[in-house]
């Protein structure tokens, strides 16, 4: 299945505002991350970044489905 991954701030500067990656059915957050990091510019993403699934912070073993909104969250700076 294809997962669209949203990117922001410095990650979006390097990879664009989103990337699409293919993962097998039953894949988890960490599998999606591995595919993003395997892209040409993907090394800009750290090994264990914060990830949100459907706009909620998610653990790296959370399963993902093709309809999920997955986002990689750079170090935040609100306030």
């Amino acid at each position: 299945m294809t997962i669209r991954v949203l990117l922001f701030a410095s990650y979006a500067d390097a990879l664009g505002p989103h990337v699409d990656v293919d993962v097998p059915a039953g894949a988890r957050v960490r599998d999606v991350l591995a595919r993003v990091r395997a892209l040409a510019t993907g090394k800009r993403i750290p090994d264990k970044p914060l990830v949100a699934v459907n706009q909620v912070y998610a653990a790296d073993d959370q399963p993902v489905t093709a309809t999920d909104e997955v986002a990689i969250i750079p170090p935040v700076a609100g306030g």
Binding site: L6, F8, A9, S10, D13, A52, Q55, V56, Y57, A71, I73, P74, P75, V76, A77, G78, G79
Partner: protein
């Protein structure tokens, strides 16, 4: 309670009125402002960008946690995104409570959580022409 991510200047006084009530003996207002100096560099302005839908949800969650923990509904928070000038407000937190200790604690809780959890990013522009993504201390 009310929370919002906004793209216009925040009116701190209006948030203050919004939580006011004769039920509450104490109101604590926190205003976060764009500083002219950050870690030794002279700042000329900055842009906040957000993962908007998630930032709205996360801000509402943080404030709901504070309302439950300190048993009040009189909390209003606005966080601004977009381009801000020096001295403009990026975030305003208004908390009213019957008692002052609780008002201070709830206000502090919200700013600390928001700085760790809101998916909002800041690009600082410096007087010397550089610009950088800056993260909060963890």
């Amino acid at each position: 309670m009310r929370t919002a991510i906004v793209e216009r200047p925040i009116d701190a006084c209006s948030l203050l009125s919004e939580v006011a009530s004769a039920r509450n003996g104490a109101t604590v207002l926190f205003v976060g402002t764009v500083r002219d100096i950050n870690e030794g560099s002279e700042v000329s302005g900055l842009d906040y960008s957000a993962y908007g839908a998630m930032a709205e949800k996360e801000l509402a969650s943080i404030v709901a946690e504070a309302c439950e923990r300190w048993r009040t509904r009189d909390i209003v928070v606005e966080h601004r995104v977009g381009t801000l000038e020096l001295g403009e407000s990026s975030v305003v937190i208004a908390v009213a409570h019957p008692h002052r200790g609780e008002a201070y604690d709830a206000s502090r809780y919200i700013i600390e959580e928001l700085k760790q959890r809101l998916p909002i990013w800041k690009r600082e522009h410096y007087v010397d022409g550089r610009a950088e993504w800056v993260a909060n201390a963890r």
